[in-house]
Every structure is written in structure tokens, then in C-alpha cells.
């Protein structure tokens, strides 16, 4: 089980979990999934795709809207969550665990420092909600 307070965030509501081995897992936040509503389709990049920080890597489609997913970090896509493509509702129920989206091999670890901390992200969404 991931601890959301230990993750880094983007202002576009993605989270990233740096694993010890030079890779990181990316997903969307609980705030994002609650804004989207029932998620029905997830479009992910192909394994092997090179990605740059804040570039679009996929789409999350809910009953009422479509949202682009942007990568918090640059690198190479080494794994995608096939399970969530078959069961998109997991993105709603477990956005930090079973609902993870892609695993990326980092090309520049310092990028993580430029992202938001958990406190900074929660401050951001508390403003957005009012």
C-alpha cells in the first residue's frame, strides 16, 4: 500500500513514486479521480516509449469527460498497468495502488525535486475546491 504523503505530485494531479532502482511509478490522484467520476477507459503509451517531463502520455476517459495524463518525469516507459486497462474502475477505487498507470525508467532524477510535496499538493487542491 502506497503512502500518499511520501509521493511527489504535479499541479495536473499526477503522483509519482520513486522506487529505489532508478524507476518510478506514475498515477493520478484521488482528487483527480473524484473530479472525473466513473472512469471507463484508460489509454496508456506503449512500453518502450520515450517520454519528457510534463508531456502527454495518455488519456483517462470518464462518463462525463476526458482528461489528458502528463508524465511528471522524463525517461522510458518500461511497464504499463494492463489490469487497469481491463478494469478502469480501479482508478476510482484505488488511485494510489491497483490504479497505478505506468512505470518509467528515470533519465533525470533531479526532476523529482521540482515537483510538489504532499503538503504543497494538498494546499493546491484546497484552493481549487473553494
Amino acid at each position: 500500500m502506497r503512502d500518499p504523503s511520501q509521493l511527489r505530485y504535479t499541479k495536473d494531479h499526477e503522483w509519482v513514486d520513486e522506487l529505489g532502482d532508478g524507476s518510478a511509478v506514475v498515477g493520478i490522484t484521488d482528487f483527480a479521480q473524484s473530479q472525473l467520476g466513473d472512469i471507463v477507459f484508460v489509454q496508456l503509451p506503449e512500453v518502450g516509449t520515450a517520454v519528457s517531463q510534463f508531456g502527454k502520455i495518455g488519456e483517462v476517459e470518464s462518463v462525463k469527460s476526458v482528461s489528458d495524463v502528463f508524465t511528471p518525469i522524463s525517461g522510458n516507459v518500461i511497464e504499463i498497468n494492463a489490469k487497469v486497462q481491463k478494469h478502469p474502475e480501479q482508478l476510482n477505487t484505488e488511485p494510489y495502488d491497483a490504479g497505478w498507470l505506468v512505470k518509467i525508467l528515470l533519465s533525470d532524477m533531479t526532476e523529482l525535486d521540482s515537483l510538489l510535496s504532499s503538503d504543497e499538493y494538498h494546499h493546491l487542491i484546497s484552493i481549487e475546491e473553494h
Binding site: 467520476g37 466513473d38 471507463v40 477507459f41 489509454q43 476517459e61 462518463v63 462525463k64 476526458v66
Partner: protein, 360 residues
């Protein structure tokens, strides 16, 4: 809460998909008070309705309802409506209720006034703001209604109605005639494709009625679920799938036009169109790949744009995208392979006959 045709309405209570699934499996509740409710009574009421509806009103007996259209003079659809024949008044005069869409209520009001200008023995009363309308939809509807009204008062078949006046839902001041107010009226109608009822009551009893329905197991559902359910059932949305730019023939709903009856507004234009043939048709598309078709997305046949989506969405019952749209007549045959441009990605779909879903 979202704005809808001048009203504030819930898009969802708990979740659009869970609400839609609740209606298909048990029973859901919808506050549909935004719809127009216009009472017409008097000896000239039938004459007026004959003029503006595509259905011959003398075929409607007390206690029955029918789906019909109000057309413009050029045969376009001004609105789709349900016309109910209530019990005759104490003076043995016919009484009708016209239920129309929220966005067209003012148009329909003006339409009835204009086309009834020469008729003196008719009373037209817009009861929308004094009444509440609640839809109870799903396989467990009859069980739920039985908590509120006795079994004998339930309309026995689709498109029948009763007026259960001997119930706590009946509101009447001592000085009023019984039929001056609308309600309670229970009809076996709905917009979901499931068995169900629509209940019209005076505003005074609406809150307690809603609470009792929830306490008895009804699941509140919002606009999001309502739109998915009606789309699955192949039911059209006024202003989107049908509007004055299209005729009932183009919209594939010609069966609701009684051509053999005496003159109605728009009849001449429709007869001419029947003779000439139409160039486009409203079709249903079942998506073969991932992604949800949405309003205005282009529809392609062999790489050429042949139309656009009017209504589209995700069908929880079929677990794929579904859409309605007008396409060129040559691309409208059931079984035709089309594709829809989903924000740059072309996804295959097949033309299917409506409805997408039918209850057993």
C-alpha cells in the same frame, strides 16, 4: 448540481454508473419536475390537440397516454411529448395533460395559445410550478410504489394512468373544485426502458413523498444516469437528437405520425417528404473499440464524413460506447461499418437497430 433548462439539477448523487445500474437491477428515483406539465380542458381541447399533435386525439380514452410530436409547419420536430387523457371533468368535459420538455415549455405554451386562438371553450393551465413529478424506474418499481399507494390504484399496463384521489397524496382546498389542481397522477411511463411509473403530486406533499420513497428503498438518480439509460433504450432527446431541423421521418420515428387522421400542423410538409424521400437518417451506432462517442464527433463511412454524433455515451449495460447521429441515407443501413472520430482517433462502430437495450 448543474444548470439544466433554467433549473438546478443533480448530475449525480452517488455515481452515474452505480445509479444507472441500480435502475436496471432494482429501482431508481428521479426528480423530473423540470418537465413541462400543461393541463388542457374543455369541449375545444380535443380540437386544439388534434391540430398540434401527430396523433388523433379521439383515439385516446380516459386513463391512457401516448407518445407524440408537436411539429412546425415545415414538418420539423418542435418537441416530443406525452399526451395523457385524464378522467372527464364533473361537467363531463375531456381533460388532458401534455407533458413536454423543460427547454421547450415556453415554446409549447405559446404554440398552444397561438393555434387555439379561435377556440373559446378551452382552458389551458401551465401546472409546472405548482407540481412535482417523480419517476420511479426499474424492475422493483411496483414493489416500491406499493409502499405509497394501494395496489388497486396502480396503472396495469405501460402508457396507462390513474388519479388516486383517495390517498394522502391528494391536496385540495375546501373552496376548490377537485380538478382545478393537477395531481395525484400516476402513470406507467418513463424514460429509461424499464418498467416504472411517473408520479405527479402537488408541491405540498412532494418532500415527504420523496423521503418515503427513499426510506422504502428507492435509489436517487441524477441527470447523468438518466441520459445513459434513455440512450441505451434508444429514446431521443429534444433539442439534441430531435429538433425543428429534422422531421420524424428523418429521425426514424414515423410510426408515431398518424397520417390518416385529419389535418395537423406539419402534415403537408411531411407528406411531401415521404414522396420525395429523405437524404439523411438518425441511426444507432455500437462502438467496436475503446472510447466514448460524444456530441458533434464526426461519423465516417469509408473515410468520408457522412454525419455527426448527436448523443453519445458509455453504456454500462453493454460495456461499450453507443451513439445516435444523423448520417447520409446511403450509410444508414443496419450492419454498415462506420467509424467515429474521437478527438483524432478513428474508432470503428456498427450501425444497429434501436433500441440498444431492451428489457426482457
Amino acid at each position: 448540481m448543474v444548470p439544466f433548462a433554467g433549473w438546478e439539477m443533480p448530475l449525480q448523487y452517488h455515481g452515474i454508473l452505480s445509479e444507472a445500474r441500480a435502475v436496471r437491477s432494482t429501482v431508481g428515483l428521479f426528480d423530473v419536475s423540470h418537465m413541462g406539465r400543461i393541463l388542457l380542458s374543455g369541449p375545444d381541447a380535443s380540437t386544439l390537440l388534434d391540430r398540434i399533435l401527430t396523433f388523433p386525439i379521439e383515439r385516446l380514452s380516459p386513463g391512457r397516454a401516448r407518445y407524440s410530436f408537436v411539429l412546425t409547419e415545415s414538418g420539423g420536430i418542435l418537441d416530443d411529448v406525452v399526451i395523457y387523457r385524464l378522467g372527464d371533468s364533473y361537467r363531463a368535459e375531456p381533460r388532458f395533460l401534455l407533458v413536454c420538455n423543460a427547454n421547450t415549455r415556453e415554446t409549447v405554451n405559446s404554440w398552444t395559445t397561438n393555434w387555439g386562438q379561435d377556440l373559446s371553450q378551452i382552458t389551458i393551465q401551465d401546472c409546472t410550478h405548482d407540481t412535482t413529478m417523480i419517476a420511479i424506474q426499474g424492475p422493483k418499481s411496483t414493489e416500491l410504489i406499493a409502499h405509497i399507494l394501494p395496489k388497486e390504484t396502480l396503472p396495469p399496463r405501460p402508457f396507462t394512468l390513474t388519479e388516486p384521489r383517495h390517498s394522502p397524496l391528494f391536496v385540495c382546498e375546501a373552496s376548490e373544485m377537485v380538478e382545478e389542481r393537477l395531481g395525484p397522477l400516476l402513470s406507467r411511463t418513463g424514460y429509461t426502458g424499464e418498467d416504472g411509473f411517473e408520479l405527479i403530486v402537488d408541491n405540498q406533499v412532494a418532500d415527504s413523498l420523496w423521503q418515503r420513497l427513499i426510506q422504502s428503498g428507492g435509489i436517487p438518480c441524477g441527470l447523468g444516469a438518466r441520459d445513459l439509460l434513455r440512450l441505451e433504450a434508444g429514446l431521443l432527446l429534444s433539442g439534441t437528437d430531435i429538433h425543428p431541423g429534422f422531421s420524424p421521418i428523418e429521425a426514424g420515428v414515423e410510426r408515431f405520425v398518424a397520417f390518416e387522421q385529419s389535418d395537423f400542423v406539419g402534415k403537408k410538409a411531411l407528406l411531401f417528404q415521404k414522396l420525395k424521400g429523405v437524404e439523411r437518417k438518425l441511426i444507432g451506432i455500437l462502438m467496436q473499440g475503446q472510447g466514448i462517442p460524444r456530441h458533434d464527433y464526426p461519423i465516417l463511412h469509408k473515410s468520408i464524413v457522412v454525419g455527426h454524433v448527436t448523443s453519445g455515451g458509455y453504456s454500462p449495460t453493454l460495456d461499450t460506447g453507443i451513439a445516435l447521429g444523423y448520417v447520409s441515407i446511403n450509410s444508414s443501413t443496419v450492419g454498415t461499418q462506420l467509424s467515429i472520430d474521437l478527438r483524432g482517433r478513428h474508432v470503428l462502430g456498427t450501425v444497429v437497430s434501436l433500441p440498444f437495450y431492451q428489457r426482457k
